[in-house]
Subunit: 155 residues, 2 copies
DNA sequence: CTCGCTGCAAAGCTTTTGCACCTGT
DNA sequence: ACAGGTGCAAAAGCTTTGCAGCGAG
């Protein structure tokens, strides 16, 4: 099930790489598959996943390769990233656009319907000529579970 | 004009510090003033500003103090921070709530009316029990000026 | 056969932490 | 005087970069 996104993405990857005269490598295919499988993954998490998949054979791509590849995949339009908090960019496959809702309390990430921001997007476009990029948006707040816990902190 | 926010914030600062048995120091007052003056400031920018204000006298707070103070001020509810991109948390005074609109192209930050997300906030609350924190939200996209430039990149 | 890609390792940054000294109360 | 705060410097993450060898086309 880890590669249920694999086949769907393999074709576009090869295609877009060829179109630019770039090469299709095992590492690139694996990184893309990992991003798709882990819905909200940090570079670190992706690396871990790859290392895990590779097993003791140790054939996992190097960290620097993961970073370089993520950057490339993003340029190819196959993945997107969002900054949810501190130093943690999160990558996800560009297949199904969705926005991220992040709880400040527990750090849980939920995907939400992009339509949620349709109204806001229209107003930004009308008022400022600003084109909202829904895929990159992260909405912060507090989830239901943490609302109870909140406020317990001081006094 | 740099300290037009100073007086407004000085009182709450002293007050909240005393309420917790903490001390009012010059550094804390300066950091708060700098955050208020620079509307969207990174810790680095705040440090630079303080160093600049201090002049050759060199009486600027240390970087570590800036970080510690920002954390404290946030705990006191006097400032808020948002993550707009890479490793760049942006702090702003908690006086006037507003959300941030950031252009991916030029990095320009615009403030927008929190009401923009009122509808989205209500739906998140209703559907997920999620309380949206408008002050922390950053909306990414492309500004009018950069829309022209965009797309020029590939083919 | 060529040039792009990868792995390794070191450099770069921003942010955090430990400690001794200084300062607000 | 007492505790909290600050500065300094070292440590810690996370990401980027240089280079030589490997591999796709």
């Amino acid at each position: 099930m880890a590669d249920r996104h694999g086949p769907e993405l393999a074709a576009p990857l090869a295609e877009r790489l060829r179109a630019r005269g770039l090469r299709l490598t095992t590492q690139r295919q694996r990184v893309l598959a990992a991003v798709a499988a882990l819905e909200h993954a940090t570079p670190e998490a992706i690396g871990a996943r790859l290392r895990e998949e590779a097993g003791p054979d140790g054939a996992a791509p190097d960290t620097s390769t993961v970073y370089r590849t993520l950057e490339l995949l993003e340029r190819l339009g196959l993945v997107w990233h969002t900054h949810l908090g501190k130093g943690a960019p999160v990558y996800h496959a560009a297949e199904h656009p969705h926005l991220h809702v992040v709880c400040q309390g527990c750090g849980e990430i939920t995907s939400a319907d992009p339509a949620l921001l349709a109204a806001a997007a229209e107003r930004l476009a009308a008022d400022l000529g600003f084109q909202l990029d829904v895929g990159h948006v992260a909405l912060s707040g507090t989830c239901r579970a943490c609302r109870g816990r909140a406020g317990t902190e001081h006094s």
